[in-house]
Amino acid sequence: MLEVVRAGLATTVQDLGRPGYYHVGIPISGAMDRLAARTANLLVGNPEDAALLECPFMGPELRFSDARTVAVTGAEIAPRVNGQARPLWTSFRVDKGDTLSFDFLEKGARIYVAISGGIDVPVVLGSRSTYALGALGGFRGRKLEAGDLLPLGAGAGAAEGRTVPEHLRRMPEMPARLRVMPGLYWHRLTEEAKQSFFEDTWKVAPEADRIGYRFRGGRPLTFVPREQPFGAGSDPSNIVDAAYPYGSIQVPGGTEPIALHRDAVSGGGYMMLGTVISADMDLIGQLQPHTPTRFVPCDMAEALRARAERRKLLDAIRAHLAA
């Protein structure tokens, strides 16, 4: 049993997600930074898809009722056991009655706290991930609150001191660079807007969560004039409501691009100018509000190369920890 003493800002139970129900509006969910989540599980000896805690911007305070192996990956928020500092990206032991707490956020946005045995909440539609908007999965369909008691699974747990070296960790650069494949309704933008979108440095807005990340500060995007199609709505950024890809970037009113993430709304009536490539989705999960961000144009060949590189990195992490 894991007792939540302090919950943090929006701590949720996540795994690698719930594919297969997007056509009825239930998004895939799961860890925003998949690579960090997989690594945390590998460090403690869990299967990569075990349920763990995702904590944005601030760590929780947790009390253990039995001995476990723990690892914290992702953002730089230093863990402490009974007040004693512990390293990030490294497995450590906690004993019965120990308290895990955290320092303030230094870098990145989300930590992943893996515990040997995993968080044993019920599997709903094939996953333990929390989809808070639909009150589905996770712990009672919601973010954690002080006083919650989370069931933990059985699992021996790996030894302490297992670590992943820095070159096998992946965090955004400064300014962040997100590769975007233009497409979908890209043709609705004027030539000026197509250029300025990629030229301008945007900043992550405070509205940045599991549903999507909003960016502001770039020049407003203008649209090719047209008579709006029947059913689309009157704003030039409107389309007949369509399905939204994960990572797709919509621009309501042409002002603030929103990149949809793991808890995406599955469709709607705003034009999308393109899509963040799959290899860079993890990086969005580590962006703090106000982070300067550049969108970098990318074609399918490069997206597939980046995808293969990310897989190679994951294979290297697996090999390192298996050795």
């Binding site: 509006g25 589905l136 494949m181 979908l184 007949v240 799959s278």
Partner: protein, 292 residues
Amino acid sequence: MARTESRYSFGGDEHLFVEIDEEMSLEAFFKSLSVCTAIEEAKIEGVTEICPANASFQVKFDPDVIAPADIEAEVRRIEARAQASHRIATRILEVPAYFRDPWTTETLLRFRDRHQDPNATDIEFAARINDYPSVDAFLAAFTGSPWFVSMVGFVAGLPFLYQMVERRRQIQVPKYLRPRTDTPALTIGFGGCFGCIYSVRGAGGYQMFGITPMPIYDPQQKISYLQDFMCLFRPGDILVWKPIDREGYDSIKADVEAGRFVPKMVEVTFDLDAFERDVDGTNRKLLEALHA
């Protein structure tokens, strides 16, 4: 339909997006639905999600299993073969609707500063701009024909509804100037040419006309008719509104809570060509099937 050739585009390296038409029409929706059904039946390895939408659809795939060019070629081949189907086997469902209810009225009054007409309610505004002499006349038109569930999504289980009448009779209402931060669960909304039922409480930009006592999404799966699956609606369902008053609302809500309520639902075949030849006659037959 304005366009004969679909537009293909990739949404990153994991999504194929196909726009059947830029504008909404039942024909575009039918084509989207039938191509999606055919893609599902083809059981293409590497396809993980198929999402039909109003006049477009999206296929999510794993590029490690099937190359982007191959999935596009496969879907194009399926689309070329599938476009003939104008008949679907589907369900018709009755949804009780309490219009001008106290809960959505209270909510809309809180957000008047985000509305086109702060001095009218949403339904008064919609009636006026659609040239109906009264809200009652507007509601008679709103509930007078069935609606197609042309898409399910935005959030879990939310149906988008498309009015089954000729375009000149279709109701159109703009969305709020700025979205509300609150909408009661089960609100009957309207924006553009689409109706909807909000499955969960939350933000929203559609005009609010009323509320239904009939849950359409239950993540706990405690509601008797949502135990097989937590979302009631599927794309292609046909919906019929049944206007109710406060007494009817309270009585259905009590039945739902006691596990006694079962939505009225029958299986029907819908033929788009027959519908286009005789809209009112086809709609009448659908209602007869529901009440038989």
